[in-house]
Symmetry: C2
Subunit: 297 residues, 2 copies
């Protein structure tokens, strides 16, 4: 009984500590809400650059306030309106143009075997210019295209990407690892990151700056930049260049720091760009027929 | 002292309950993690269709497992590889093609004044086919394009979108509401939803089905479908049609039910499509110059 009496204050202290911990906990949970962020958070202890990315991650999923047209914002409303009359084609021309463009883009494939041959720089410039014509939420144009042709920088990028990929594959494989090593090795070796004449790293700007110095949230920045990537892929295909769409999420923070991009920018995609290698192959895949992707009402 | 002795088992029970609660809590937090979901959750009490959407929202932000190339998946690896040799253009042709494509797409603008004139159905089919050539995470092709030309259905869509827009504007304006009514009214009236010959509603499939009946998560479905939208916008511009990019997030669930789409599909964009009206105007906006969007290393 005396022992129990002695235990009482101890239990009371433990209870207070536990309750205090619970009250503090929810706040932490809010800032590390998504699975991805939890993963990053876990990594943050050993990787200092991730902290900065977390601090500045003000990206916000759309709320009630920002639904609707992307042109529906004050800046555009204050803007003068001008007549708009793009070229109009006769119906048979439209049909032919729609067929030709489909034929062109239907030849596009993700290609991992890229030729080291140089590609004219002006062509790349025009491809990036074209990507920059995409629409964006409130016309924020929240994209930065980092075009890397420097051999040393390409190699540094490769090392970061391969290190992360190796971690992914090792974790994924678990016990099967040792036996399947030889087969798997090809999966995390990204030779094209050294070989391709250009690496295009596409960053989304999650926020901008207002004149008063405050942050301006870039709504829909990921969708906007992804649309821009779609146009970029079309522009590459149009000039006979190839790429493979990759989203190296886990190495984004390291690559951002390597490329000296500010904290409001996050890597969305990494595209190695060049001519296809003369012995390039692609998986024999087909695309869904129109009836599987379109419903007409 | 006797009182303390009596309190000891009580405190011990309370401590156990609190610890048990703490252990259960994290699991709940994971399922309602994003801000958007919280917002939807709040709305769910008054909007029954949202519940179904929430139940089936298995969209997952990318984890360690799915980083890297989008072609990097078992299905593609098991696939036979075939040679790939797309057309190769001489350098001056490449340069000219890159300029022409930039000129074409730089003419694209978001247009809200759409002509009611009919547009050939086959052109729309080819535009959707072209959008379907986009790359997607693990080649899941996680998109459904609902093309609406039915007058009655277009009007129903308009009513849903306008109702949500009105709510948004009223909430946004607060007290300024009454005085600014006349000016603002134009903001939530979307006449083009009745007028445009086609409304294209683009759904992302957040998951698919595995042969064993289980759900297959579609990683990167939003990025994939957004890329597809970028290609769709290019295809529209290529045939002289216009649209305005809109992301009517709040009415997504209602529109999904109206259009009888399954619960794994979520509305990403709504594009009214047609020729521009003869008196169409656009805000006098400019795009960032190349140096502001591109960094060369």
């Amino acid at each position: 009984m005396a022992l129990l009496s002695v235990l009482t204050p101890v239990l009371a202290v433990v209870l207070c500590l536990v309750l205090g911990f619970m009250l503090l906990k929810p706040r932490e949970t809010e800032t590390t809400s998504t699975t991805a962020r939890k993963t990053e958070d876990k990594a943050a202890h050993s990787r200092p650059w991730v902290d900065q990315d977390l601090q500045d991650d003000t990206e916000i999923t759309a709320t009630e306030e920002d639904a609707g047209d992307w042109v529906d914002n004050n800046e555009e409303e204050d803007c003068q309106h001008v007549p708009y009359s793009p070229p109009r084609y006769p119906e048979d021309t439209m049909l032919q143009r729609s067929k030709d463009f489909y034929t062109l883009l239907n030849q596009r494939r993700s290609v991992r075997f890229i030729s080291p041959e140089p590609v004219p720089r002006h062509v790349i410039d025009n491809v990036i210019r074209t990507a920059g014509t995409a629409p964006s939420g409130a016309h924020t144009e929240p994209w930065t295209f980092v075009v890397v042709s420097d051999l040393d920088m390409k190699h540094k990028i490769r090392l970061i990407v391969e290190e992360e990929e190796e971690v992914n594959y090792r974790q994924r494989m678990g016990d099967k690892w040792v036996t399947d090593l030889a087969k798997l090795k090809t999966n995390w070796i990204k030779e094209y990151l050294d070989v391709a004449p250009y690496l295009v790293l596409i960053f989304k700007q999650t926020y901008g700056s207002l004149p008063n110095g405050k942050k301006r949230t870039h709504y829909y920045n990921e969708i906007s930049v992804s649309i821009s990537c779609g146009i970029l892929l079309a522009a590459l295909q149009n000039v006979g260049l190839v790429t493979v769409t990759s989203t190296p999420l886990n190495c984004g923070p390291q690559l951002r720091v390597l490329l000296k991009r500010p904290a409001n920018e996050k890597l969305l995609m990494l595209l190695p760009v060049g001519y296809p290698a003369s012995d390039a192959t692609v998986p024999e895949l087909s695309r869904k027929p129109l009836d599987d992707i379109m419903v007409h009402i």
